[in-house]
Symmetry: D2
Subunit: 135 residues, 4 copies
């Protein structure tokens, strides 16, 4: 099997998430808070934080598991600590646990003043049989 994704990174492009640094030990991304990401109160929709958390954790887990298979998200737990209206956010994922069948990654999102605006955790399943994905 190949563990190289073949599709485009459509959703991350849709929300404007840009990967800055990718390794098996740390993934960093950049996300600009723009009006298209707002919910009706004029602040960034909580789902965008979750999405950023999901992406960087998944990229980290996939990088670590590369050559053995792929990873799929099992659960996402994101805390919203500070509302944002604009500016550029920094999203950083580091591993909590990288096991044989599952991984757990922690993610911190900070604003331009280096204040923590969200934190999250993603559980990933290590999949060695690609036929299990999206079946």
């Amino acid at each position: 099997m190949t563990d190289v994704p073949v599709g485009g990174d459509n959703y991350n492009e849709l929300i404007g998430l840009e990967l800055v640094e990718v390794s098996a030990d740390r993934v960093t991304a950049r996300l600009e808070v723009t009006p298209k990401l707002h919910q009706p109160y004029g602040i960034m929709h909580g789902g965008v934080y979750c999405s950023a958390v999901e992406t960087v954790a998944s990229v980290g887990g996939a990088t670590w598991f590369s050559g053995r298979g792929v990873v799929v998200g099992v659960s996402n737990h994101t805390n919203f600590l500070r509302a944002t209206r604009e500016g550029v956010l920094t999203v950083v994922a580091t591993p909590v646990h990288r096991g044989r069948t599952q991984q757990l990654w922690g993610v911190k999102i900070t604003d331009e003043q280096d204040r923590l605006v969200a934190s999250g955790e993603v559980r990933l399943a290590n999949i060695t049989d690609a036929a299990q994905i999206g079946g």
Copy 2:
């Protein structure tokens, strides 16, 4: 204060989430899985499930708390149970707990075959002072 949001529902429009039914006891939405919502493996990005969970729970909580203030998301915990590539999903939120200062809503997402594809839970803070939002 007013508790009526004044901005547009930009992010939900971006991902194509459409509210179908809104009450203080139940919120239902429709979400079509389209390629723009995919991650590189060609399945829907987990963050979109989280986003759908976040929206319907927040709309339910805001509807229940309407007239007293607004609600903001505190945390979102979403489980991914089945990958999807296409089709129309149904997203349903019901309250677990509606307290004086916080609410907890549970959300189920099902596909066209009525299979559970994701489940989540959102904690909301009831805010009576609008100045606290996005400060």
Copy 3:
């Protein structure tokens, strides 16, 4: 392999959790709030709710997976909705998702007035190789 536990149910005896009904679709237990379960404010320690949630979910998952292997807890997410000082609580687990490799069970804890005092969710891994446990 055998999937029948051989040890005593020590910890559940320690906290006084008693199983009332056990099936692959639903597990019910009874827990009396006694002073030995209190934290210093004189209310039941949050960890006891988590423990009750963990037990009933695990028993349900183990019952469903019986004959194929055992289950081990992967994560526990418990919400504390109402403090309790005394009385008998009812703990009920039902399945959210029972998959090939993992299960997700939801748990509700109610008091004698049938008020929801805690709710939780446990993720379980289905283990077919007993050597993986407690290694």
Copy 4:
């Protein structure tokens, strides 16, 4: 009001959790894995990890909020990363976010070989009106 708890620390004594270091920035505890904490497979019951997580986070949050009121647990999310049968565990809590109305603390539990056996997160509500507790 007083924010000094008056009851005994009954439940922590029951499970044998001993506080080692307490400050507003870090709490450390010691927990010995003994047979009374086992579930039927002969490994420590997951609820005990949750309980240890709950205690150290709560003590940290209460210490930080001391003089202004008390804290109560809102939710507990604990991941089980490695089963344990015996030995002494070290439990360390550090703050993720300490806000006006809520706090979020992260907890790591390691074994004698310094391996991570569990990690968790506790959300606490800051309560300035003691009458709200255990009502």
